[in-house]
């Protein structure tokens, strides 16, 4: 699973506590206290471990379908469960930071896997006729293809998608009706766009971030916020290049540990989750419905996924 270097927690811009869950740590399969506190009476969000399993199930189903059409199809389960932990804006797992920093090396390894994708190599090795048959099996063509559209929250923007072949079958097997899932997911995951600016300026959050900043400064790292810390690490790593890779990684780990330690010390995750919940709860009612539908369909997909693939080691 590719690392999302300093990325945001799922559809919830900061901690993922509301729209999708952010597990406590790499080994936990249950939502942490921040997530639980953020829940409303509707269906609970999924943890990142659960979402990973759904993605793995999707790959497994696609492979089975392609196999039934007479084609090989590789699955990618390169990263361990622990390595797959997404690094969100708030990353407060100190042990993980000590071992993996911000996940820069995991990310680099995953990029190498992408660049040598066995599916691509296999497809390339096929004759032109067979390759065309492969593409048709994978994505369908003509009347087999379903075109879906959904409005994005906050305006009139519409996004479209096309589904066919084994790709469609795999998605259907997990999420049910593709139109329902497409609408629900685009709405739910688009919600942060509606409150992002306000959350950004939220006084409680900015106060907590300032505390974080004072904390890391005491550790000798003068960063105004976690984003700045990660940008600096990335730039440093790029600058040192291959020759200075070990030195760069040492810096990455040191920074990430201070980042995580201070995030814990300032309860940054709890504050961020609470403030985001505050804004989500104030969205118009219809968005609450979309959110509930999204969570329900995700949970259904997960319940199906556990019967299709094991959890990653």
């Amino acid at each position: 699973m590719k690392r999302a270097f300093a990325s945001l927690c799922a559809a919830l811009a900061v901690t993922g506590a509301v729209v999708t869950g952010c597990g406590q740590g790499p080994d936990s399969d249950t939502p942490g206290p921040a997530t639980t506190a953020a829940n409303r009476t509707g269906p609970r969000p999924l943890t990142w471990q659960q979402e990973l399993r759904i993605g793995d199930a999707q790959q497994r189903l696609t492979r089975r379908c392609m196999n039934s059409h007479g084609f090989a199809y590789a699955e990618d389960r390169t990263l361990t469960l622990r390595e797959s932990m997404p690094v969100r804006y708030v990353q407060d797992d100190v042990a993980w930071a000590q071992e993996y920093g911000y996940g820069g090396r995991i990310e680099a390894r995953q990029d190498q896997v992408r660049l040598h994708n066995p599916i691509a190599a296999y497809r390339q090795s096929l004759s032109a006729t067979r390759r065309a048959a492969f593409d048709k099996a994978l994505d369908g063509d003509g009347s087999d293809v379903q075109v879906l559209s959904a409005k994005l929250p906050g305006g009139d923007r519409e996004v479209r998608t096309r589904l066919g072949g084994c790709t469609k079958q795999a998605q259907e097997a997990l999420y049910g009706d593709p139109a329902d899932w497409f609408r629900a997911s685009k709405t739910a995951t688009g919600l942060p766009a509606l409150y992002g600016q306000q959350l950004l300026r939220d006084r409680q959050l900015t106060t907590a971030v300032r505390s974080w900043s004072r904390c890391v400064k005491r550790a000798g790292l003068p960063y105004p916020d976690p984003r700045a810390a990660r940008d600096a690490v990335r730039e440093n790593t790029a600058r040192l290049g291959t020759a200075g890779a070990d030195k760069a990684f040492a810096t990455e780990r040191r920074t990430a540990v201070a980042d995580a330690t201070c995030a814990r010390a300032t309860s940054l995750k709890t504050v961020a989750a609470a403030r985001e919940t505050y804004y989500v709860d104030r969205l118009p009612g219809r968005y609450g419905e979309a959110l509930d539908t999204y969570r329900r369909l995700e949970r259904q997909a997960y319940d199906r996924a556990v019967r299709i693939v094991p959890q990653r080691a």
Partner: protein, 156 residues
Amino acid sequence: MRKLALTAAVIGLTALGLGVPATAAQAADTGAQVTGCNNKWPGRNGNVYAWDGLDCQGALLGVTAGSDSDWNAAGGGFSGVWDRASSAMNAGYTGGNDVVQFWYLVGYGGGYTCLSPNEYFADNLSDNYFSNGFVVDNNIRSHRWVTSGSCSVWLT
């Protein structure tokens, strides 16, 4: 160097949608309409593509199955092509990190927008905006592969 409201992207949160009416994306379906992007579709080969012109026309700026944190720097599939892309394509394999996330700045900074493998391509980036409010057209400087859960802003 661009001056921009970096504070808006400090936490990397998505900006409020600008509510710009979307022109219908030409991710064409089974109709008779034939577009440049449709013609350029290579089958699902794992790669992301970006072109200088609309509708997948003009110079092919780059192609790669990996991520590229700097579209100017050598390596990564894209080099010397900051601020030029006007159309893009995601021919990646589905499941896992199958969404391409395009960024306004190098190193995945500033603001982002996402292109799903099920959407295939975005033929006109001039009616799309990054999460920080800037137009996407001629403004992409880096990209990486993520899960759909990391996206609340999508190319239409």
